[in-house]
Amino acid sequence: MPVRGTRVPMPEQDPAERIHNFDEVPFGYSPEQAVEEASRCLSCKKPACESGCPVEVRIRDMIGLIRERRFADAYFLVKETNSLPAICGRVCPQEEQCEKYCIMGKKHEPIAIGRLERFVADFALREGLREDFTPGDRQGWVAVVGSGPAGLTAAGDLRRLGYEVTVFEALHAPGGVLIYGIPEFRLPKRVVAAEIETLRDMGVEIRTNVVVGKTVTVDELLGDLGYDAVFLGTGAGLPNFLGIPGENLNGVYSANEFLTRVNLMRAYLFPEWDTPIKPRRRVAVLGGGNVAMDAARCARRLRGVESSTIVYRRSRKEMPARVEEIHHAEEEGIRFELLTNPVRILDDGQGWVAGMECIRMELGEPDASGRRRPIPIPGSEFVIECDTVVVAIGTTPNPLIAQTTPGLEVNRWGCVVAEPGTGQTSREGVFAGGDVVTGAATVILAMGAGKQAAVAIDRYIQEKRKKGAR
């Protein structure tokens, strides 16, 4: 039988229906669908896909086990290198990573590796599979700051290496951007909670409501509190604003605020839940990344909202958002005002947003990022009708830790300077990885950095121990 060239399609919620709820959009594969998709895999001798995975998942063997219907074994194999497969299977940009290198992809559609990873992880969560984990001899104590993808990955890997790990989280629930940023319909909170629970099962301690830099300092963690090393995975949490007139009007949100209210605080369930949100009828979202898509799609689902529009200064081709996210947004009726830049936000006379004056752009020569630079077209100003504006033009690291950790070097964007490959910072015993080092990037890159740092932290502590013993 010839191998099918196209992927087994993923069933998903109908757009007309899903814009009225926050339930997950793709339903996931059934066992039969997963096996069928897995049987497309050529089981390459040298699996190119694996070179594209920052957390070194043994993709070929995982797929082989799925084909044999050994789903539990496939899950445990994935878990050996990836603490968060249900999350990665949903939010990784696989088209840029594993699937990009898939040999099948040269002539046909690549194997749907992300969907298969999600399938085995969901299978394990549904069946309540627990890894049989026994910690080895205690190697030391490590404090992980931030419970987002970088921190959780570092915590899981360090625990496997025999360390006592405490994760400190500033918010009241762990997960970082996975719970405050990424919406329920893309990554259900119960999935995040369940994967974090597997880390707790392994003995990772998670302490919420601790703001490192305020409640405790890095120096205290390394000093009185007795940790051998600290990993900073604090992300890029500080929202950028445009600095245009009207940005402090009522009805203007940072994407962080908008998404935190909706996701972490469940404002879409107000007043059953206590946190309100106030998009009125027409929402404009500034930016072209995944965060902008998330905000626009959240807005679309909120009661009373009639239109949700993405406003982006370059063209579709330059949009940093994943193709899949743009596609889902289009299906849901999100409007796109491309090659458009805001000039000022208009006041209704009562201090609320009454519209946004914009200018049309055209693309010039490529800039430092390699993308063509947008240039305003004189005289093309026009007004976008809106009463709510969400600013999703990027974030930078929160300065709280840098300000309270003497000798910790940051660059001019406020990112912690860390050695590539190890995450070693300018302070001995302090390592960093993820968005706090790179600026806002992806979940999986943060996880890869957490993984590398775990190896480097282990090496650092072991070497220190040897020197001490001498």
């Binding site: 009241h172 409501n209 946190t275 106030k278």
Partner: protein, 281 residues
């Protein structure tokens, strides 16, 4: 969970709570705040740290019942727990080491002013206190303030105690009579009160510091809900404040932003089913 060790009624709608939170107490300073939640579905609200005891590991907060969360908080008793309690957040208030300070607490504002006054008093700063409320029954922390002020004026809108009128009335008289002897004014209270104070001290060129209490979500610099314009620049009250130079603050904008969710606040109260004596209404 963060246990309430002590609860005291300060007036019919305001309670003082002593909460067990050793990590917060360890580093708390006057001018800082905490964020708390009262239930798993609850919102995060900021409250100023009114007192702290490092050896007992406790933080004292004062809450006036204005919205649903503060109502629910007001119903909690000694032995009950808060689901979340994080801090100390914000920067400690920059307090002087010497001279004469007029410290004003309007309404519930007496609570955040108190720890600053006490800290200044301990450093040997001369403090004239002014606290006020709508009526005598609503005055809070009068005894505590009297103990740490060199002199204390009380004002009530209806004249039931002390000066008949607003706290700004007392300030006006002090400025008229002894402006050259006042090195700094510190005011906490409703935005309109703080604006009136700022307007009053501006002609005298007296440094005037206020502590703002805007809408917040995370309290760590992440969301920007608490942003305000100070000296022409956007600042986040949670990490850059909450204490600012009153003469630099754009009050009109800050007042407008503080009213963003008034309708939702009413809706939350009307739909609340917490089972209080008179409903949440």
């Amino acid at each position: 969970m963060y246990k309430i060790l002590k609860k005291r009624k300060l007036n019919p709608v305001t309670h003082l709570f002593v909460v067990h939170a050793p990590l917060v107490a360890r580093r708390a300073e006057p001018g800082q705040f905490v964020i708390l939640r009262v239930r798993p579905e609850g919102e995060r609200i900021p409250l100023t740290i009114c007192d702290y005891d490092r050896s007992e590991g406790t933080i004292t907060i004062v809450a006036q019942e204005v919205g649903k969360t503060t109502r629910l908080l007001g119903r909690l008793e000694e032995g009950d727990s808060l689901v979340d309690f994080v801090g100390p957040l914000g920067k400690p208030a920059p307090l002087p080491d010497e001279g004469h300070v007029v410290a004003i607490g309007g309404g519930i504002g007496a609570a955040p002013v108190y720890p600053k006054v006490r800290a200044m008093h301990e450093r040997g700063v001369r403090v004239t206190g002014i606290i006020g409320a709508r009526t005598a029954e609503l005055l809070i922390l009068e005894e505590e303030m009297a103990a740490v002020c060199d002199r204390l004026f009380v004002a009530t809108d209806d004249g039931t105690k002390g000066y008949h009128g607003f706290v700004t009335g007392v300030l006006e008289r002090l400025l008229r009579e002894e402006a050259e002897d006042i090195d700094e004014v510190l005011a906490v209270g409703p935005m309109v009160m703080m604006r009136a104070v700022a307007d009053m001290t501006r002609p005298y060129g007296i440094r005037t510091m206020i502590s703002v209490d805007p809408i917040m979500v995370d309290g760590t610099g992440m969301c920007g809900a608490c942003r305000l314009t100070v000296g022409g620049k956007t600042r986040f009250a949670c990490v850059d404040g909450p204490t600012f130079d009153a003469h630099e603050v754009d009050f009109e904008e800050a007042i407008r932003r503080s009213r963003m969710y008034v309708e939702e606040q009413q809706l939350a109260l009307h739909t609340c089913s917490c089972g209080g004596d008179e409903g949440c209404r």
